[in-house]
């Protein structure tokens, strides 16, 4: 049945929107009209149900319009429209395949509208829409449904998390993935979950469980969806959060207030000012809110060992697996990240790598990166040794190309960073010889390996390669190689920095009070004085519990500070003591102002300290004890933690200073090495790009890439112009005008003529006056004067 054109006059009589508008304003008086329209809807629905397939353009009003009308005013007449939502649900569930597209979309839209008006609840809506999403053959309907489902989930989680709804939907999705592992329907679950994860609506382990099941399914698309989620879902989430916080434009309240003072005072203006103030306040509050603690998906997994093993066996070891190389690489990346992050033991994984470690293998750098990533300190070295041997044999030889060699060396280094025991002496010495390679990439990779082993296993190197510091330490017996499975004693990273800082502060305060800086020099006599002072300081600390609101702090009433006495007599002679003690607060400010200087300062002090002390070992022991003390006897306030973070970043900056400055202190160097290894977060993946590393230095650039680089450096300068012209153009584009000088230069010649002519006819007196005036003006500094 073709669509009939409706004349204007016909429309006037059958004006549903008009009726809708009137009902909205006064539902009681139009009840009869609505009732009759509802009858109309019902009879149209019956007509439709007789032949759902055929088009339903019956006369003036179609079923679609009636549905739209009833949905819009359904909340006004709850008794009359009791069965309406159910009817719609039945209609679309049973006939979604043969409804005409417009009507179908209208029904979906009406259901969502009813949900917005709270006529039906979210779970009813989602339970209707979700089965459709997986069954309908229409692409446009799927897109619509996906969008509607997502927006409904978002809106119902907008104010507070709707845990019940989330749980039901998660269960539905989980069942969808688990029930039929071979079908691609699970893809919808994956898509939905990923989207909700990205928007931080779902952040719990159940979500991760869905994805875990997805990555263990039998359908490639679903597998890839799940695997990609684990590899990139968290990064996506972070990026979105950053984007959201970035895209709010800054509001300058001062400027707005100023403008409101000057501009015409209208109600609109004052309202907009209030609005801006509210926004600023809200943002401020939002900023001060504690950061939502979101664990990454990899950390929320219940059984990482089981997951990694199953993934490996099902998709990689299994010869019947249908995944292609690219997909396998993704799975391998996930497995290796799991192994590296959770320190899992999947021994057969390493022998699996052996087959792929040849330069001819496509995307071998990804394999190398995965191998390095799956290495951790609990992997038996004898499992890794053949792998390293193979890499060395296949990649690192004189015959191999430079990029190949550098990639191999980089890979070996990355493996050895994680498990230094996997290297043997002869191989290492062999590899280190490449440091004199002509190729820059190879040379740098070899040097990287060398510097690594100077730190972690200097005795494997030849004597001449060890370097001064390592040799000295070896000689003194300070350096001990870590044995397999040995762990660091747990501590808080950078705690010794905080301790040093506190010490410094304490000294400064004592100086400010006029006491000798060194508590130990006072002797036992005024021990209680010290105690008292300690308490004072502590109270200060508790006072500064929070970083932001320092003023509204109350002191911690009945808390007793239990400090060990040993903490007081630690620091001894301090040669370059500050001569001019100022107020403590000022000093604090100064510290913040030039951290770098202070850092060097501290280092220098410590170095001298070491020289002076005969029993260095005892001192070190004491220091360790001290650090432990700090961790065990005090609660670190948020202010402390913030300071700690600051100190850590300073330390990592100082490690970038030239070697000569750093060599002053051995501890600083160890620290620097630690910082370098911690530079990259543990959660961050190792990529193939890092393995390829400096390989691009190995070969010369071709002309195109060189041109591209030049063009990039040049910026947007696309035509030949003088730099002055460019500058002027830039100023003009910023809305800035020309200078007076320029204006004078551009002035029309005819306009200047009169003045020039007059100049010639001046009398001497006049000329004198003018000249005097000129001198006067120049003294004053221009016509308007420059002294105001």
């Amino acid at each position: 049945m073709g669509k009939r054109k409706v004349g204007a006059l016909e429309k006037v009589e059958a004006d549903l929107p008009n009726l809708q508008h009137k009902i909205r304003r006064d539902p009681v008086s139009y009840k009869d009209d609505f009732a009759s329209q509802y009858h109309q809807y019902e009879s149209h629905r019956e007509i439709f149900m007789r032949a759902p397939g055929s088009a339903t353009d019956a006369g003036l009003i179609s079923l679609r319009e009636l549905i739209d009308f009833v949905a819009h005013v359904a909340d006004c007449y709850p008794e009359i429209t009791k069965s309406f939502p159910e009817d719609l649900m039945n209609l679309i569930t049973l006939h979604h395949t043969d409804l005409e597209p417009e009507l179908r979309e209208k029904i979906v839209g009406s259901l969502v509208l009813l949900r917005k008006k709270d006529v039906i609840d979210s779970s009813a809506l989602l339970q209707t829409l979700f089965p459709l999403l997986t069954t309908t053959p229409s692409k446009s309907l799927r897109a619509l449904l996906f969008q509607k489902i997502l927006s409904d989930l978002r809106s119902s989680n907008a104010k507070t998390k709707n845990h019940r709804l989330n749980r039901t939907i998660q269960t539905v999705l989980f069942n969808l993935v688990v029930s039929d592992r071979t079908s691609s329907k699970g893809l919808w679950a994956v898509k939905l979950t990923r989207e909700l994860w990205k928007r931080q609506i779902w952040t719990d382990s159940k979500t991760v469980e869905i994805m875990k099941e997805a990555s263990l399914s039998d359908n490639e698309k679903v597998i890839l969806g799940g695997v990609r989620f684990f590899l990139g879902g968290d990064k996506e989430r972070e990026e979105l959060a950053e984007e959201e916080s970035d895209d709010e434009p800054d509001i300058d309240m001062g400027k707005l207030r100023h403008q409101a003072g000057i501009n015409k005072k209208t109600r609109k203006q004052s309202k907009s000012l209030e609005k801006a103030a509210a926004t600023v306040k809200r943002r401020e509050r939002k900023k001060n809110q504690p950061h939502p603690l979101n664990f990454s998906a990899l950390h929320l997994l219940h059984d990482p060992q089981g997951f990694a093993e199953t993934l490996f066996q099902k998709h990689l070891q299994n010869t019947k697996s249908k995944l292609n190389l690219e997909q396998k690489l993704l799975v391998l990346q996930l497995v290796s990240r799991l192994v590296g992050l959770h320190r899992l033991t999947v021994i057969s994984l390493y022998s699996y790598f052996l087959k792929y470690l040849t330069p001819r293998q496509p995307s071998v750098t990804s394999f190398l990166a995965s191998l390095a990533q799956s290495t951790h300190s609990l992997v038996p070295p004898d499992v890794l040794e053949p792998l390293i041997q193979k890499i060395a044999n296949e990649f690192v030889s004189e015959a191999a190309a430079a990029e190949v060699a550098s990639a191999g060396l980089n890979a070996i280094r990355e493996i050895c960073v994680r498990q230094p025991l996997a290297m043997n002496e002869t191989l290492l010495q062999d590899l280190v010889m490449y440091k004199s390679s002509k190729d820059k990439g190879v040379m740098m990779a070899a040097k990287g390996l060398l510097s690594l082993y100077r730190e972690v296993g200097a005795d494997l190197l030849r004597k001449k390669d060890r370097g001064k510091a390592a040799t000295m330490e070896l000689k003194l017996g300070e350096r001990k190689q870590r044995r397999f499975g040995e762990e660091d004693i747990g501590g808080i990273e950078g705690l010794e920095l905080l301790e040093a800082y506190k010490e410094e502060e304490r000294k400064r305060k004592r100086e400010a009070k006029g006491l000798p800086a060194d508590a130990g020099a006072d002797g036992e006599g005024n021990g209680d004085g010290d105690e008292e002072e300690e308490e004072d300081e502590d109270e200060d600390d508790w006072g500064a519990w929070n970083i932001e609101d320092e003023e509204d702090s109350d002191d911690s009433g009945g808390w007793i500070n239990v400090e060990s006495d040993g903490e007081i007599d630690i620091s001894d002679s301090d040669s370059d003591r500050e001569t001019k003690p100022s107020a403590a607060k000022k000093a604090k400010l100064d510290k913040k102002a030039n951290p770098a200087a202070r850092d060097v300062d501290v280092d220098g002090a410590a170095a001298e300290e070491e020289e002076e002390n005969a029993d260095a070992e005892a001192e070190a022991e004491a220091a360790r004890q001290r650090v432990l003390n700090l961790a065990t006897t005090r609660i670190l306030t948020p202010a402390d933690l913030a300071k700690l973070q600051e100190l850590r970043t300073q330390a990592s900056v100082s490690k970038l200073l030239p070697e000569t400055q750093r060599r002053l202190h051995a501890a600083a160097k160890i620290q620097a090495a630690a910082a370098a290894s911690h530079n990259r977060h543990v959660d961050d993946p190792l990529t193939a790009a890092e393995i390829e590393g400096l390989a691009m230095l190995s070969h010369k650039q071709d002309k195109e890439s060189r041109d591209a680089a030049v063009k990039a450096a040049k910026g947007e300068r696309n035509e030949h112009k003088s730099s002055a012209a460019l500058r002027k153009e830039k100023l003009r584009s910023q809305g800035k005008s020309t200078t007076n000088k320029e204006k004078a230069r551009k002035k029309n010649f005819l306009m200047t003529l009169g003045k020039a002519r007059f100049k010639q006819k001046r009398s001497l007196v006049e000329t004198q006056k003018v000249l005097k005036g000129h001198v006067e003006r120049s003294k004053r500094g221009g016509r308007r004067g420059n002294n105001g």
Partner: protein, 349 residues
């Protein structure tokens, strides 16, 4: 200055009359657009290659398909063609298409926007007989009900005409088909603006209900309301009479019994002559609720009527009778139909 002289000349040119010369073509206007185009072939969109005129049957089919044409004149003309074709066909000759095909195409026109089409439709259906329509009663009733609650008053009124015709032709079918009794009665109530009172909540609005039907402003175009109300009441009276009065017995039954004397109640044992004779069992459809149930007996109809509609209708009739005049008379006729129909009905518990 040279340029200004040039401009002057240009300006002048605008107002100068172009000189026409004999034997030369007229100069083109400045805003002339060339609309000519070249084509490799000439395509004739519709061409009839038939040498002889189309048969009556083909014409009939053609006009049947034109019932959904977008122009209302065309629709009306096609309808009138069909009317003549159906009415002038020889007795006992079937139409070119079976009624099962024709009728479903006619029904949607009940809701047609143009008055002329609906008039013509009424003319067409009037030349159909009862046994031709019987099988499609429930279908056309759907459209009629939709028409009765339509926003446009004209459509409402013409659907009442159709209902009257349908009651004339096959009244018993109308009141006993699925949903035919309760739903149509509901439509009547909505049409008359008589509200079914539910509980005590609407006590305050009862005054406004009493005025309903005449004085209450309703949405849509106000037609000739008084006359229209009379028409509604007449239709209602007819409907109630058909549904509530006992079916008129033809004297034939006795005769038949005499003819087939040794056999008793042969009718019941013969194969049924109408289609879907077990429709009341509803074997294949969705389960029916109270509204869409079939009420085949007079007693059933009386029961549901007494339970749901009688109080409302009587209250409405009281108000209508107070108006007097033609409306009052029509109301009295409805009241008569109700009282006659409910004769002998006793509420059973």
């Amino acid at each position: 200055m040279g340029s200004s002289a040039k401009k002057k000349k240009e300006k002048k040119q605008d107002f100068q009359k172009a000189k026409l010369k004999v034997g030369k073509t007229k100069p083109k206007a400045s805003n002339f657009t060339d609309t000519s185009f070249s084509s490799k072939a000439i395509v004739v969109n519709q061409q009839s290659l038939a040498a002889n005129a189309p048969t009556q049957a083909a014409l009939f089919n053609h006009h049947l398909s034109l019932l959904t044409h977008r122009s209302d004149t065309q629709r009306r003309e096609s309808l009138s063609f069909l009317t003549t074709a159906l009415s002038t066909r020889p007795v006992h000759t079937p139409p070119p298409q079976p009624f099962g095909v024709i009728l479903p195409k006619l029904f949607p026109l009940v809701l047609d926007g143009s008055g002329g089409v609906r008039q013509q439709l009424l003319k067409l259906v009037k030349c159909l007989s009862g046994d031709e329509v019987d099988d499609h009663v429930d279908e056309i009733l759907l459209y009629i009900r939709a028409g009765m609650t339509h926003l446009a008053p004209d459509i409402r009124s013409s659907s009442l005409d159709l209902l009257e015709w349908l009651l004339d032709v096959s009244g018993l079918e109308v009141v006993s088909c699925a949903g035919g009794w309760v739903k149509t009665l509901q439509c009547f109530l909505a049409l008359l603006g008589w509200r079914v009172e539910t509980g005590t909540a609407s006590k305050w609005t009862s005054t406004s209900t009493s005025l309903a039907g005449t004085a209450k402003p309703t949405f849509g175009k106000a037609g000739s309301d008084g006359k229209y109300l009379v028409k509604k009441l007449h239709a209602l009276a007819l409907f109630l009479r058909t549904g509530l009065l006992p079916p008129t017995e033809d004297g034939l039954i006795g005769k038949q019994d005499i003819i087939t004397f040794p056999l008793w109640q042969t009718e019941q044992h013969l194969l049924p002559k109408r289609s879907a004779c077990f429709a009341h069992l509803n074997l294949f459809g969705a389960p029916r609720d109270e509204e869409s149930e079939m009420y085949e007996d007079r007693e059933d109809r009386q029961g549901i009527f007494a339970e749901k509609f009688q109080p409302t209708i009587e209250r409405g009739l009281d108000n209508a009778r107070k108006e007097g005049g033609e409306v009052g008379r029509a109301a009295a006729s409805v009241r008569k139909a109700v009282s006659e129909g409910m004769e002998g009905y006793s509420r059973e518990f």
